[in-house]
């Protein structure tokens, strides 16, 4: 019933606006169309300049409200991301200047050169000097942006340092799985046709490959602070995207085509809690490529910690090979729990049951 009233009220508002508009048309006919046209012209010209002033104030006010909520006041959480932040500031500087100049000119001209009796427009069809000026000036500024941009781009997308910690991350509907290479520093081969052979082999690891025997399979990512990290990115089913907004990094996960990205975390999770003043702070992995109905819940967690804690955590993990083949496990008498942190995705799982 409420909805009915709501619709009725909205309909009434429309009718009222429409009637007023209609009436104003009759009034203008009575007043003389030319006269009322000129009045309207003045009103709109005034609104143009008002829009400019209120609009610029609004842009400033919006910045006051929301700049603090962007990731930039707290700075990049990765060394490489600092370059991206710098690039952002350079770009804001250049485009911001152009924005203000052009918008001010646009609305100010609109106001200043509104139609006035006796005023004649100036016949000014072209001027080569001016046109050359605003071809070359933007070209110069863009060159600056391109040069800086590409310098950072090649730095960020270049090869990861040799001593990087390698972690494999695999996306599937709708969660992330990690694999660590274990003591040998090498990830075992994968073959998607081995999926679930033996049962539980959800990453389709080829356990015929001895290099896979010490690999760790976890659902939470732990990283040591201050060391370069190289992510090897896979997808099982559809395209996903590893979004690491605090580190300013992002890379698609494409089935059949592994991708990589690398970065160096600057702050541990604990340090970030202090920096952001948010006691609940966590580094989150967001899926940034539409992947189906649970896309919005495809959340991963990264714990950045000191190298010591990281090594402790690594040591506490049991290789997946032993979980899947308990008879091969020299320590098989204890529990056979897959990973220590299987509760990590519980909150997400509660919202979005896997299909």
């Amino acid at each position: 019933m409420n909805e009915f009233y709501l619709i009725a009220i909205v309909a009434m508002i429309f009718v009222v606006i429409f009637q007023i508009a209609k009436a104003s048309e009759y009034v203008s006919v009575l007043k003389g169309e030319e006269k009322s046209r000129k009045q309207n012209n003045k009103i709109n010209a005034f609104l143009m300049i008002a829009f400019l002033i209120v609009g610029l104030y609004g842009a400033w006010y919006c910045n006051e409200l929301y700049y603090g909520k962007t990731l930039f006041p707290q700075g990049s959480a990765s060394v490489e991301g600092e370059k991206i932040d710098l690039m952002l500031y350079i770009t804001i500087g250049v485009t911001g200047t152009v924005f203000i100049i052009t918008q001010v000119l646009l609305f100010w001209f609109a106001f200043k050169y509104q139609e006035r009796d006796g005023n004649k427009a100036f016949y000014f069809p072209h001027n080569n000097k001016l046109e050359l000026l605003w071809t070359t000036v933007p070209a110069i500024f863009l060159t600056i942006l391109v040069v800086f941009g590409l310098k950072f781009w090649f730095k960020v997308t270049g090869d990861a340092p040799k001593d990087s910690v390698v972690v494999e991350i695999t996306g599937h509907q709708f969660a992330w799985d990690m694999r660590y290479p274990g003591k040998d520093g090498k990830l075992g081969k994968k073959n998607y046709k081995l999926y679930n052979q033996p049962s539980g082999n959800t990453l389709a690891v080829d356990f015929e490959d001895p290099e896979s025997h010490d690999d760790l399979h976890t659902t939470e990512m732990h990283l040591p602070v201050g060391k370069p990290i190289k992510l090897v990115i896979n997808a099982m089913d559809v395209i996903h995207d590893v979004g690491l907004s605090h580190f300013r990094m992002k890379m698609d996960a494409v089935p059949g085509i592994p991708t990589t990205l690398w970065f160096t975390p600057k702050y541990t999770t604990e340090e970030m809690k202090k920096r952001t003043g948010n006691p609940n702070f966590v580094y989150e992995i967001s899926c940034d490529q539409m992947c189906g109905k649970g896309h919005f819940s495809m959340r991963g967690v990264i714990v950045v910690e000191s190298e010591e804690d990281y090594n402790k955590w690594l040591a506490s993990q049991k290789p997946e090979y032993f979980t899947l083949y308990p008879d091969k496990d020299p320590t098989a008498t204890k529990n056979t729990e897959n990973t220590a942190d299987s509760t990590a995705n519980k909150s997400v799982a509660a919202v979005m049951p896997k299909p």
Partner: protein, 601 residues
């Protein structure tokens, strides 16, 4: 001019000359309003169909904005409207994504491509170049009816049990290829692809016609450099469409094969819903290349007509020639060429080779140069003008403002290093909604308000138009400006609910605010729709042939031109279309011979 078109023209000439356009061949309701071959009627058909689609697409955005405003709210009426997609009034994620996908598809293709360039290319090309009709009125009619067919198929996909396509308007496989991955990738996706195939046929029939007409059927004296900028823009738009839409067609057909015939163009190494698929050797990235080879030119297919019309309207209502006509044509040309060379800037984070990426950075940022030229030329056109704020003019000025705002954020996204952080966040949403969505809409509104008197012989209500303009421009900025901040915080696109994310949940209030404004702006568009349809029958009648005192040829036709446009001979053109305020004369129409005492420009 080929002999064939000459003969056709001569035939028309004779026909209309003899009868003074008073009694045509017998026309029934069907041939006059339904299967009409008159370009003006076809234009109106495109426009009205576009308005209906815009209403649907806009309504979808309002519904999914309700979800974003308050993810926990329930709206019982939603269940009445959507049935099992909103049990208990709670929108389901699958259908949220279907709404997002259809909103994009409808607005990009059905409204801003067909509704915008379909309408104005049809309406303005023959009228402004001085032709009786399109080169092939029959193909032109078919162009509309293929669009109509595409519309019917797309509409039917809204009603299938498993829902319409829901993988985003870019329909990236494997998500769109595998029914197991998403319910929207079942029959809804096939319907989407078939509908788009029909749409592409429509677009090609139209585009070829526009190009042929512009090249071959200009009236005497109408050299290419005397064409209004609208025509130049529509010409380049048609060229873009003809060269790029076939690539999307091929992409769509390969996807249909992958879906239904077991091929592996886009599929490799996939385990979906526990099922190991046999497909190997395909590349999911191939589709993205095919898609964006159309997808990027598509942006300019949408934008160029808006640029062309705004140029014309700014000039007419400033009572000044457009500044730098040749630079305007040149920049349109540069944009057209570059539009084909920048597609991979949508793919910087797909694992693209970084060197290849850098080439696309360079080419992408290069587009900013012709865009800057256009902006400065528009500004100079306003400078020292004598500006009349007709509703069309307001929207043209609004277009320039939005084009600046949205264009500048393109410089952020086109720079690959920054794109890493901003890719697929709300920053992207803000950018393309402002520059290609709202700006193009403004161009379209400017066109509708400006040429409405020519289309229907009546005016739209001014007060409603002014309300429409001011609410829309203020609302558009209120909606999209703050979204940049959400994007800078890394907030991803296409999320149904942010409340479980520590990193993104702080924007709840803002999302609510944006949704509220979206609702108001949507209501303001309804005012436009009411104004549009009401004025067709009840608007003030146009009493003078040239109400805006414009130079172009369409204003030399009768107030309500019949099929054939000019009752007598087609006027001959003696000058460019921008002689405003020249030699102390307010305006000198294109068909006025050059006087002996006239200054040169």
């Amino acid at each position: 001019m080929s002999t064939a078109t000459l003969e056709t023209a001569a035939h028309h000439e004779a026909h209309h000359g003899d009868h003074h356009g008073d009694h045509h061949h017998h026309e029934t309701f069907i041939t006059k309003y339904v299967f009409s071959q008159d370009h003006k009627t076809i234009a109106k058909q495109f426009l009205v169909t576009g308005i209906i689609w815009a209403f649907i697409g806009g309504l979808f955005s309002v519904i999914f904005r309700l979800q974003l405003a308050d993810p926990n709210a329930t709206y019982p009426w939603l269940e009445d409207l959507l049935g099992h997609w909103a049990p208990g009034g709670k929108l389901q994620p699958e259908f949220y994504y279907a709404l997002v996908t259809m909103h994009g598809t409808i607005l990009v293709f059905f409204v801003l491509t067909a509704g915008l360039s379909g309408t104005f290319a049809n309406f303005l090309i023959p009228l402004q170049i001085g032709a009786r009709d399109m080169a092939s009125p029959m193909l032109n009619m078919l162009s509309y009816w293929f669009f109509f067919l595409a519309s019917v198929i797309m509409m039917s996909s809204l009603f299938v049990q498993t829902g319409p396509a829901s993988g985003g308007w870019t329909i990236y496989p494997p998500l769109s290829a595998l029914g197991e991955a998403s319910s929207g990738s079942k029959i809804g996706m096939d319907l989407w692809l078939v509908s788009m195939a029909m749409f592409i046929v429509s677009s090609l029939l139209g585009g070829l016609n526009y190009i042929t007409t512009i090249l071959n059927m200009r009236t005497k004296g109408m050299s290419m450099t005397r064409m209004p900028l609208t025509i130049w823009a529509l010409f380049f738009t048609a060229v873009l469409g003809v060269l790029s839409f076939p690539v999307l067609l091929s992409g769509a057909i390969l996807l249909l094969f992958d879906r239904n015939l077991g091929t592996s163009f886009y599929l490799s190494d996939i385990v979906v819903a526990g099922k190991i698929l046999p497909n190997e050797g395909g590349s999911a990235i191939l589709f993205q290349h095919l898609f964006w080879f159309l997808g990027h030119p598509e942006v300019y297919i949408i934008l160029l007509p808006a640029m062309g019309m705004s140029s014309e309207i700014l000039s007419v209502n400033s009572r000044k020639p457009i500044f730098g006509y040749m630079a305007m044509v040149g920049s349109l040309f540069a944009i057209t060429i570059l539009a084909f060379l920048v597609w991979a800037h949508h793919m910087f984070v797909t694992g693209l080779n970084p060197f290849l990426g850098s080439v696309f950075v360079l080419l992408t940022l290069l587009i900013a140069v012709p865009s800057a030229i256009k902006v400065f030329n528009w500004l100079t056109t306003l400078w020292r003008g004598n500006i009349r704020f007709t509703p069309g003019m307001l929207f043209a000025i609004g277009f320039v403002s939005l084009f600046i705002s949205g264009g500048l954020t393109g410089i952020f996204l086109g720079n690959s290093a920054l794109d890493i952080h901003l890719h697929d966040t709300y920053f992207v949403i803000a950018h393309f909604h402002i520059v290609m969505g709202v700006a193009s809409f403004f161009g379209m509104y400017a066109g509708v308000y400006h040429w409405y008197p020519k289309m229907f012989g009546r005016y739209m209500n001014n007060t409603l138009s002014y309300i429409h303009f001011w609410v829309t421009i203020i609302g558009a900025y209120l909606i999209f400006w703050p979204m940049h901040y959400e994007g800078l915080a890394g907030m991803p696109r296409r999320y149904y609910d942010f409340s479980n994310w520590e990193s993104f949940k702080m924007f709840g209030d803002l999302n609510q605010f944006i949704s509220m404004i979206a609702l108001i702006v949507f209501a303001a568009q309804l005012l436009f729709v009411i104004n549009f349809f009401y004025s067709i029958w009840k608007g003030r009648k146009v009493t003078e042939a040239n109400p805006w005192k414009a130079n172009t040829l369409e204003w030399t036709t009768p107030i309500r031109p019949g099929h054939g446009n000019w009752p007598g001979d087609i006027p001959e053109v003696h000058r460019w279309p921008y002689d405003y305020s020249k030699d102390g004369k307010d305006f000198i129409a294109q068909d006025v011979p050059v006087g002996a005492d006239e200054s040169k420009h």
